[in-house]
């Protein structure tokens, strides 16, 4: 028998088996779909958060709050010194009056807090736009930018340095933790799915043990006997992966674009959900999830047939041994 003939036989037998025992097969596919769906959901959140953080990093600023007693000449010298740094794109001076106006505009209910002060209560500041290329250097926690910022913190003309990227770095850490938790949870669920598929394949092998025994007796190779079971596991896994990606895509669509006449998850102005569902998973990750499902199914089939020890001729079929008159 040629490989193509064998493959055709495997496909036919695997499809027949899936159709005959569709209920248990559906259970296996569902288990794979749930585990891959959860893994995919974590990846989706992670992917969108990562995109958001990257965008925020591009838009982030370093704010230098200036000493109120700083002379105009010193302030100008500081602005020039800051602007001369190679990673600075832009420097904007926000004087004390503008700071007060912004505060009142952003927090109108707290506006009276600023009343009664003899002088401007909020300090003037410099808003410094950092070059995007320097962000990575800053994120690594070392390099010239970090040293430069440390120098500004020690400068007596600057009373405080507020770097947006400090909290963005913390958010990145959260993303990594989230990704790790997702992969861990997905991994555990995937192992469960592997054993579910293994049980389904074992059950199928048990149901067809009489036929397997006859095939061994007449001279079928192990490749020929096991092939359909391996393919069945692979198909179950791939279908589970496809179902998971399909469900994720549907959920994603519902989040960003509500169905006609209905309200999507993000329709109420929930910017967090909208932000998280901004982009779907990249094609590579979708294909990876489906392939992971296929691999899990295949591993399940291999595990199940190893546990059944079908390769050992002494275990052709229990009933044969029972009838032995040895």
């Amino acid at each position: 028998m040629t490989f193509i003939q064998a493959l055709r036989y495997f496909v036919r037998e695997a499809a027949l088996s899936l159709a005959r025992s569709w209920k248990v097969s559906a259970l296996a596919i569902l288990t794979i779909a749930v585990s891959l769906g959860l893994t995919g959901a974590f990846l989706l959140i992670n992917h969108n958060l990562h995109q958001r953080v990257a965008q925020w990093q591009r838009e982030s600023k370093v704010v230098l709050y200036l000493d109120g007693a700083l002379a105009e000449a010193d302030r100008q010298a500081l602005i020039e010194r800051v602007a001369a740094a190679p990673w600075v794109d832009d420097v904007a001076l926000v004087d004390a009056a503008t700071s007060r106006a912004r505060f009142v505009e952003n927090f109108p209910s707290l506006a009276d807090l600023l009343e009664g002060w003899g002088e401007e209560p909020l300090p003037a500041s410099l808003e410094v736009q950092i070059d995007a290329a320097a962000t990575a250097d800053r994120a690594s926690g070392s390099g010239d930018l970090t040293i430069w910022l440390a120098g500004l913190r020690d400068d007596p003309a600057v009373i405080m340095v507020d770097d947006d990227r400090d909290w963005l770095a913390q958010l990145e850490t959260v993303i990594w933790v989230l990704r790790g938790a997702g992969l861990l949870l997905g991994g555990v669920l995937l192992i469960t799915a592997v054993f579910t598929i293994a049980s389904v394949i074992r059950l199928t092998a048990y149901l067809y043990r009489d036929e397997i025994a006859v095939m061994r007796m007449v001279g079928a190779t192990e490749f020929f006997i096991r092939g359909p079971f391996y393919l069945e596991g692979l198909l179950q896994g791939l279908l589970g992966g496809l179902a998971a990606c399909g469900a994720l895509a549907m959920l994603h669509t519902m989040m960003i674009a509500p169905p006609a006449g209905g309200a999507g998850f993000a329709a109420g102005g929930d910017w967090i959900l909208t932000a998280l569902a901004q982009e779907f998973l990249p094609t590579g990750q979708v294909l990876g999830l489906i392939a992971l499902g296929g691999l899990a199914g295949l591993v399940g089939a291999v595990v199940s047939l190893r546990r059944e020890s079908l390769g050992r001729t002494q275990e052709i079929a229990p009933s044969w041994i029972e009838s032995a008159d040895a």
Binding site: A6, M217, V218, A220, T221, E222, W320, S323, D325
Partner: protein
Amino acid sequence: MIRFFSVTKRYPGGQVALRDLSLEIAAGDMVFLTGSSGAGKTTFLKLIYREEVPTQGQIIVHGRNVSSLPLRKVPYLRRDIGVVFQDFRLIHRKTIFENVVYLPRILGFDAKSQRQRAYDVLRQVGLSHRMSAFPLQLSGGEQQRVAIARALINEPTILLADEPTGNLDPGLSEEILRLLLTIHRRGTTIVLATHDRSLIERVGGRVLTLADGSLIDDRHLPGGDPAFAIDDLPPPEPPSAEPTAASPTAEGAA
């Protein structure tokens, strides 16, 4: 064809099935293997088709030492050995055609060749008209004939039969025995295990007697029943013309 050299088979737990057995079965022989239940008959057959391996000694089949045959080569040994059991071992959810056509399918024969082979072999056992029936629609004797057809479809040089008449009434047993003798007449080596000594005495031939795993007798018995005289048996049927799609015998076969 088949040679045993000081073969001992001990099962896990210590039970000895065969003890220091040495014998030779020539090509084209028909040998009866007899003995009481538990004498070692089934183990003897299992060792030939490599269902079991001897604890000690060597077994040569077709010039191959099956005792040390790697597992991956066992299927190729079995393709040249037909095996028939007392309980037929037919798959009830499959048709007669599907039951006999396993090996041609494994060997990659196309659908037409599979149908032709199945038709030919079922014709030999007189069941070519029941190709689309299911095993439970047949009598016990017919089911055993299907099992024999399955064993013969690749024209093996050796046919092993383990109590093939054990589940059949005397009339059907005689029918199966006559069929086996006809197959033997074509040159197939047959080893037939049975505890029915009266059957052996009617047919006659080489008889190996086992007791408690040892060969206690190896003799040639003359046949007592003229109904089983080799010369009186019908000649083997010649290969038929290929069944056509319109032929009722091939209906539902594929």
